[in-house]
Amino acid sequence: MANVFDIVVCAGLVPDPLQTLEPVTGPSGPGLKNEMVLPAVLDPWAASALYEAANLAQKNPGSKVWLVSLGPKAKLQQVMMTVAQKVNFQLVPIDGPIGGFPDAHATAAVLADAINALPGLDRAKCLLFGGWESATRGAGVTLQLIGERLGITDQFQGVDQIEFRDDGSFEVLERVEGGKHQVSVCAGTPAVLGWATGNLAEPRNNPQVGMANMRTIMPALQKAKAAKLEPNGLSYVSVALPKQQRTTRVVKDLSPDEIAAELVAWIGAE
């Protein structure tokens, strides 16, 4: 029997990793200098979750993928121009602050409210996807909090693979310590899955997919509701760049034998 899923992917925006980041403190707390003009991308692990969701939906006709994302409208629009060309989804944008310093509990509350309000979402068939951590806050708690708010108590983190069976149950591989996967079998949906990298490569851009997506993305962005994130008692004592500059010795004129001898001595040194 075919499975049909309602897959909700939660994904944030992050600065392009090649950008230089400089923290600044403003009246509303810490942020990044020129945050709004830094090029942004979809959070890498959440992007893996989106590609896995689209792949699962494609294999199971009748399934649907929503992408719920919190960020400034202008930034969401910029990132969606690229992401929309990858896979089919329906965007659920929420107009709110960007960045890693807001409280994860507040983010989770806003996202959970948006998911609860999704028209046509069948909670019994729901798979809540996202990255197991973000590349901004990296807390790795937002999905669990959303799951609790939605009453989903089968949760998996660091997921690299799921395999559905005909009876609706699925096997899931979660990353655990020591380069291993924990293998579990869940009776079926609903479930929360925080993805690591998964096994899929990034899909190629497909202009037809992009055009189909943009027909719904632009109206959704125009209607995006503004969200305010509560601090929940969180305050920052300091936010700073680490003192990371090392005095690098650049060795240009040694032969492979000499380099090898130096490296072997270094490896053996306590």
Binding site: V14, P15, P17, P30, F101, A104, H105, A135, T136, R137, G138, A139, G140, V141, T142, Q144, L145, D154, Q155, F156, D160, E174, V176, E177, G178, G179, K180, H181, Q182, S184, A196, T197, G198, N199, A201, L234, S235, Y236, S238, V239, A240, L241, P242, Q244, Q245, R246, T247, T248, V250, V251, K252, L254, P256, D257, I259, A260, A261, L263, V264, W266
Partner: protein, 342 residues
Amino acid sequence: MEAILVLTHADETGSALTRASLEAVTAGKELAARLSASLTIGILAADPTAAAAILSSTGARLLAVSGESFAQARYASDAAAVEALCRAAQATIVLAPGSSRLTRVAAGVAHRLGGFIDTHITALGGAEAIEATRWFYRQRVEAVLSRNTRPWFLLLDAGTHAAFAAEPAAATVEQVSVELPALRTTVSGFRAPAQDAQTIRPDAKILLVAGAGWTKKQPDGQIHAAEAGELILGFLKATGASLGSSKSLVDQGGDGVPVLPFLTHMNQIGQTGATPRHAKGLSTCCHGEEPHVVGWRFIGDRRAISLDPNCGWTRGKADVVYIADAFPVLNKVNALLNSAKA
């Protein structure tokens, strides 16, 4: 006054505490002493006897949730267990190791208790209030934060505290009963490469990172991926090093088969991968730009072999950079290491 609960859990044996749990115990003892706070330790294990004996000398109140249902790391049962431990302890501060087991459930439990959570804590300081240090933006920005809401859950990164050690002694443990929800998930075991093929070794002293340069065309105009694989595995065998990789190298290959067959996405270091802790790190054929280097935050002594004298490593990100071809260098290194062993 704060009441501190340290959550601990058993390893795969079901009875011995994990190293990360013992590190959390050290952090809890230090924090309790500094704040003159009460200390409770919660144990999650199939059989808590051995763990309790080790923790006896802490002088802390010991609580345990035990039984076969808790031998498996699973959200529904672990969340119920941790919730029961927290309610029994009436803690305002909950410290826990940032292990896969407790990371999976701690946020959910914090929500159930009306509390809040912060993770990846690397240090606990502050004179009067508790101030927690953690990294943001994949180890690129460091912040110290505080909360005035309770209960406050703090998950500690592994390797940030010494592991608690003591001789086993008789201990009094209070068993905490748990009302389990319907369990829909069964853990069937673990999947890992064969012992001699496992390239991820968290306890290794040295990390070897392989970049995409290993599979680029060499001076003879050919790609030598097989030779690259032999050199890398030879180094791992000779040194016991752990293997990391850049995403670009793992992603190479076709039909999901990597060009170096022993590499998986779990080897990835950096923006889309792990941030391991090793005393030394050697980067090979990797350009050392920011997405890679953010995974090196906790690598002590860093060296790199690169053909590019302007690569990222030369800009203050490594201690020593050898401008050389990694193929002959690693070949010689392996030969020297093997001859020394022989």
